[in-house]
């Protein structure tokens, strides 16, 4: 390799970059998974942004005790409140605010499951897998909303 610079720091940095490249390549299955994630592309759904995550809060002193994580997603017209409860099995319970009846799809790596929200906007899923998830909500009027992908 021909050094392109005579500055010792730049040379060491070039050497480090090459060393990291050679000894620490991107795991191929990460690349494959990233490519496969394109199948989750949706073109018609409004994005519900993550606006609150209790995992980011400053709930001091609950480390190891707190087994419920609360997450809120928001669109201009409604909110999706979600709790992930880990008590043996991992459950996801959620509510659409304001309440509405709709079809709720829980998407996760390579698969999805579907349920319906009740008249109070509530819905739930059992056995939520570890990893990134997204909720897709189809309202009664056909409007589709999808939450930001979130690692749970």
């Amino acid at each position: 390799m021909n050094p392109t610079t005579h500055d010792p720091d730049d040379r060491l940095l070039e050497e480090l970059a090459a060393a990291l490249e050679a000894t620490d390549p991107v795991p191929e299955r990460f690349v494959e998974a990233a490519k496969a994630s394109f199948t989750w592309r949706t073109i018609d759904a409004e994005l519900a942004e993550l606006v609150f995550d209790s995992a980011e809060g400053e709930l001091a002193g609950v480390r190891g005790v707190d087994s419920t994580r609360e997450i809120t997603f928001r669109t201009p017209s409604f909110e999706i409140e979600v709790a992930i409860i880990s008590d043996g099995v991992r459950r996801l319970i959620g509510q659409l605010v304001p309440a509405q009846v709709g079809v709720v799809e829980l998407q996760f790596a390579g698969a999805s499951v579907t349920t319906e929200s009740d008249s109070l906007g509530r819905f739930s899923f059992d056995d939520v897998p570890l990893g990134p998830i997204s909720l897709k909500i189809e309202a009664a009027d056909g409007a589709t909303t999808q939450t930001a992908w979130t690692l749970v």
Binding site: T23, V26, A34, F38
Partner: protein, 211 residues
């Protein structure tokens, strides 16, 4: 989609070979229009950048994979919404860092004994691929011994594609003006660590040093 040809916004076909020559803006546009080939090219182009950010946090492999996947899914949902394609590297790096920090906090909060949040303390020398030279393994091993702030900074300044200091400052939550001096300080530590290791191995490896 299995076809090799994809279509640009003007309707003219774009060959797969041309994908690797395409600009990031063109790829984002094509991916936003549904081109898996354009998406794959984007992943190939930026996977190392995303990995370099996540790697610095030393998650176990499953967690690192989840964080990586979350970042790419975030890009899937934004692929048609990225306003400034020139900032994609910065957007990916920042998203990866935010997700990694969030994930680290979750593990610290919910795993009392940090059993699942294992330090990936694998020996770089053992993990090294066949392509790595002895010297490269030494450099990587010395790098692995640095403190986390130095590893993250040096990962950032060796990112490919390169990141400007402004982006690195945002990523690492450091003043832009501190990056140059910190880079120098961390490189000095790397240099010292390399020299120490070489001295330690000197007896066993006498005469095998390449320089």
């Amino acid at each position: 989609m299995t076809g090799v040809a994809v279509h640009s916004s003007t309707g003219s076909p774009v060959s797969l070979a041309a994908m690797t020559e395409a600009t990031t803006a063109e790829l984002l546009q094509a991916a936003g229009g549904g081109s898996q080939d354009a998406w794959n090219t984007l992943v190939d182009r930026y996977a190392r950048l995303v990995w370099s950010v996540i790697r610095g946090f030393r998650f176990d492999e499953a967690t690192a994979g989840d964080v990586s996947q979350t970042v790419w899914l975030r890009l899937v949902e934004h692929v048609g919404r990225i306003r400034n394609p020139d900032r994609l590297a910065s957007w990916l790096a920042t998203t990866a860092r935010n997700e990694a920090i969030r994930t680290k906090r979750i593990y610290e909060r919910t795993v009392p004994t940090a059993v699942e949040f294992q330090i990936a303390d694998s020996d770089p020398a053992l993990d090294a691929g066949l392509l790595a030279s002895e010297r490269q393994v030494e450099v990587a091993a010395a790098f692995a011994e640095l403190a986390e702030d130095c590893r993250q900074l040096l990962h950032a300044v060796t990112a490919d594609p390169p990141l400007d200091y402004e982006t690195i400052g945002q990523m690492l939550d450091r003043p832009v003006g501190s990056i140059g001096p910190t880079r120098a300080r961390c490189l000095e530590k790397l240099r010292r660590s390399l020299e120490t290791n070489q001295r330690a191995h000197g007896d066993a490896d006498r005469g095998r040093e390449s320089k």
